[in-house]
Amino acid sequence: MQTKAGSAKALVISNGAIRQDSVALTPGKLKPEVDMNTIIGWVLQAGVIVSSVIIALGTLLLLLSPGGLTVDLGQAYPHSIEQVWTGILAFQPQAIIALGLLCLIATPVLRVAISIFAFAREHDRMYVLITLLVLAILITSFVLGKGGA
């Protein structure tokens, strides 16, 4: 504990120096050539655009398909990755929409996964571990969701 408090203090004092070489992920001071903020921003935007295009496409197909105009809410629709996959192979509009929704859910997960590499690149082992923990929690949620259904 003693040493920890000591090193924490040292950090405050040499704050400026530490920041300069290790904090491209912190807002503000950045190495222009490795701007992870830009990459993360790009991933988020691309994820949203790709998934909305897929959702819009599926909706369009639904409107064009015979009998697609009225759907019973209680009727079965794909809600597992296997069901979505078989549905897509059968060209079902609902499965295509579900694929877009899954892409949307995957977008923040992908952002977390990419952050692992970003922190690793800065040799920030503590944040690689924290980010891995968040990713593990997210993956657990999907596994749990399946079991709890």
């Binding site: 807002p27 503000g28 950045l30 994820g47 209680g74 629709y77 877009g100 929704l101 977390v112």
Partner: protein, 282 residues
Amino acid sequence: MHISLTIMLLIFLAAVVAGIVGSLVGLGGGILIVPLLTLSFGLPIQYAIGASIIAVIATSSGAAAAYVRDHLTNLRIGMFLEVATTTGAICGAFLAGLLAPNLLFIIFGVILLISTAPVIFKLGEELPQNVHNDRWANLLHLSGSYPDKRLGQEVTYQVTHTPFGLVIMYIAGLLSGLLGIGSGVFKVLAMDSVMKLPMKVSTTTSNFMIGVTAAASAGIYFARGDVQPMVAAPVALGVLLGALIGARLLQHMSNKTLRLIFIPVMTVIALQMVLRGIGISI
């Protein structure tokens, strides 16, 4: 219950309006989606929550992309606190499956009412003074800096009360998973009023965290079959479009008067949700 083309179109238009209002008032569209789908369209609340959590991911990811590039977001604080929000979100999503729908209506109404408070009272400070890093902030390198456009300079800041902030983040995540909302109000509260971050950093970092938090419960809702594509598709696309329009409108108008107009509207919606939970519908 059937969903026809007309109903899908109406849900889409309503979601556009929710997206516009949400971005103008600064609450995000999510909190308006559940009342809209349940009170106006009579959908079961679990489908409403399932669609709403998807819309929350869409709007927060879209907005976060811009903030991250402007270097306003503190990625370390966000990532660290996400440990608490995602854990809370999983608990919330499971709790939602256990609670009676009536109870969900009541909790939603109460949370909606609480969420309007910051629209009236300004919480926290733009640039808090005399904040010193606590032990955790030092250990986790939470302090940082951001370029303030209005001041025209780089603002450095420190972080305090990290454990308390973490606890509030767990509760924010729990509410997000339980009700299908972004619960940005509670995330901002934790960073702004408790951890004493500058306003711009706490609002943008909150937005950044909302997507990951929502993803944790969205997976559970999807697997459970509560994300009905026919409902979620028009909601997600509508809210996204609305948020884009709202962001454009914001550049041309002051949102102060708008906020004042929407407070009574939100209050009425909140009361209706509570009444619905008790079993009275108006």
